[in-house]
Each structure stands twice: as C-alpha cells, then as structure tokens.
Symmetry: C2
Amino acid sequence: MKIKVVKDILGANDQIAQKNRQLFDSHNVFVVNVMASPGAGKTSLILETIRRLKGRVKVGVIEGDISSSLDAEAIGKEGVPVVQINTGGECHLDANMTASALGDLPLDKIGLLFIENVGNLVCPAEFRIGEDLRILVASTPEGDDKPYKYPLMFHETDVVLINKIDLLPHLKFNVDAFTKAIRGINKKAKIFPVSCTTGQGIDDWVGWLETRVKG
Amino acid sequence: MKIKVVKDILGANDQIAQKNRQLFDSHNVFVVNVMASPGAGKTSLILETIRRLKGRVKVGVIEGDISSSLDAEAIGKEGVPVVQINTGGECHLDANMTASALGDLPLDKIGLLFIENVGNLVCPAEFRIGEDLRILVASTPEGDDKPYKYPLMFHETDVVLINKIDLLPHLKFNVDAFTKAIRGINKKAKIFPVSCTTGQGIDDWVGWLETRVKG
C-alpha cells in the first residue's frame, strides 16, 4: 500500500518535471538542482559562482527551505532575481513546488537557474524537478564515509563538490578514500574539491559549468 | 488527501511508540533518540558516552542507517550489544522499525539504550519511537543559522549538543547567536557545547545524562 502511494507520487512528479523541462528549454534556461546536507555550503557555492559569472552569464535562483528566507536575502544582495519557496515541513523540493515559483522569475532574462534544494541527503534524490544538472555539495566535516550511508544521493548526482577543503588540516577526512567511495557508486560524476571560504577550486568548477551552460 | 495520509501514518506510529514505551518501562530501560544531520557526530557522541559510563551503566545501541553497517561495527568494538536497522531508503526511523529491532537486544541487561536515527534534520522530528529523551547533535561547521531553517527539529528536542567546538577557531560560527536562535524556538532544551575529538564538555553531558538515567 505504502509503496503504491510513493510510486503514484513519483509518477505524477515526473510528469510535472517534464513540463518544467519544456518551459526551461523554451526560454533557453540551463537548470542546476543543488543538493546537500544542512550547512554543507549550498548557498555559499551559489554566491561564489554568481560572482565569477557576473557579466558573462545571467543567473537566477530559487531557494528551497522548510522555513525562513535567510538564503534568498543573501542571494538578493548580489542583484540577481531570486524566489524563496518555503516547503512548510516537506523535506525536499518536488516538481510542483518548483513550478509554482517559475511565474515569479523573468525566465527570458536568465541563462542559468540554480534551484537550491532543502538540506537533506535522502529525499531530494528521489524527486526530479526538471533540471539539466544535479550537483551535490559534500562538506568535509561530515566525514568520508557518507557515500556508503547515502548511496542514492551519490548515485543520482552528476557532480560532487567536496567543500570546506580549507578545514582538511583539522579533520580526519581522507580525500582519496572519499573519492574511492564515490566511484564505487558513481563512475561518471565530476568531482571538484573546493573551498567557498578561501576560493580554492571554485574557478575550475565555474569554468566547467560555463562550458555546460553554453554547450 | 495528502495531509490525511500523513496523519494516519503518524497516528499508527504513535500507537506503536506507546507499545515500545511500555516494553522499555517493563525492563527499566532509559531510551535516548539521537538525531542530527549527516556527519554531525552522532556515533562519535555515543562512543564517547559509552566509554565514560563503562562499569556504571549498561548501554545498548540501535543504529539506524539507510544503508551499511559501519556505525554498528564501530559500536560493537566497545563490547556493548548493538543492532543495525537499514531503512532501505526511508529517511527516518519510525516506531515500527524500532520495534522490529528490540527482539535482538537483551533488554534485561540494558539500562540505557541509544537509538541513532538516520542523518536528517527534518523527518526524524515527526516520528516518536518510544524514547524518554530526544537529543540533537548540532555540528558547528553547519553554521549558526540552522534553528531558523529546521525549526521543528530544534523545537522537538530535549537536548542540543553543540558538537565540534574544537573547530570554532576556523569557522564563523557564533555560539551566542546559535544559543539565541535555539531559545527563540525552545526555551527548555539543555545545551551542551562539546567536542568528541578533544573530549571537551563530554563529562558535563554524561554527568547530566547519568542523573536522568538513574533518576
């Protein structure tokens, strides 16, 4: 019974995700679904990326949170269009919630849309929202065993950004062990070690992303 | 329709949680539900607590993970009874999953049972499992804005352990701002700043817990 309900929900979700996808295509918008644990650095990564793309790519942002508009306010200061979705308890964004925000964005003036998901390494992986690219911000203080514990998320993502590498001298995190664990689940994902605090590695990520947006 | 389904699930869950509670009471087991984001330090906190209670309180552990038995193996090395629950995709433990593990534990030989929930700051807060105490391990690298973003979790917990305080010199985390944010949602929760790496603050937490177990 339970499985049936979940399947129905996912089937309905995929239909709406396809409609979102058609809308994005008709406006030439490249869409990135940003997923991570709470506090891994999703907003910081979006901010650093916006700053480096300024003048070259027009960015818009949808912020998904259970509550508050703190992240949308931070993004708004960069002068880009931003919409906050408060899920009111839901632990992930779905295609319908995403669709409800699109009317408030000037899609014709956006080339790259970041959609920041709710902080959660589980449920966001199950719901497509019409994105071109799924990225996972993995934070070094969370430990290098996370791919074993949250395999679906690491399997479904197209990119893993290993964030907070500035903290490595203070942690037991082993980058090689982490990379090996990712590769056991996902052979194709691009992996970028970065620090949003020091800026290390961000140019590599942004350079690669720009080729995808314009490709 | 959707709300109804969720209400039904929660109602059924509470009934099973009460049965778990009766079973725990009949065996004089004090039960702690350990909640946190992925990688905040739940297992490390349980390990440090077990080591300090050795010879005084008999501890048992249920490990909840979507996948893998890494944490149960780490706990098992301490020589305490441990059972792993793999949720197979579910983002939280519920009362029924918890009940299914209890037959594999020697409840008559356990005075304190830790139940480590799935790493998630959202859904575990909605499901009672029959516990006496709910504790939240909040990790400093996640940032001091988390109570605003995950208010239900911070509202529902009895204890907040501010973990990884050894990293504070390298972070922007403001302990006073974080405490103020918690107090805006939860006036009563006990707050313990700790580091499972250096041991700082752990004795305070364990001393308080022991009075609760024996009280």
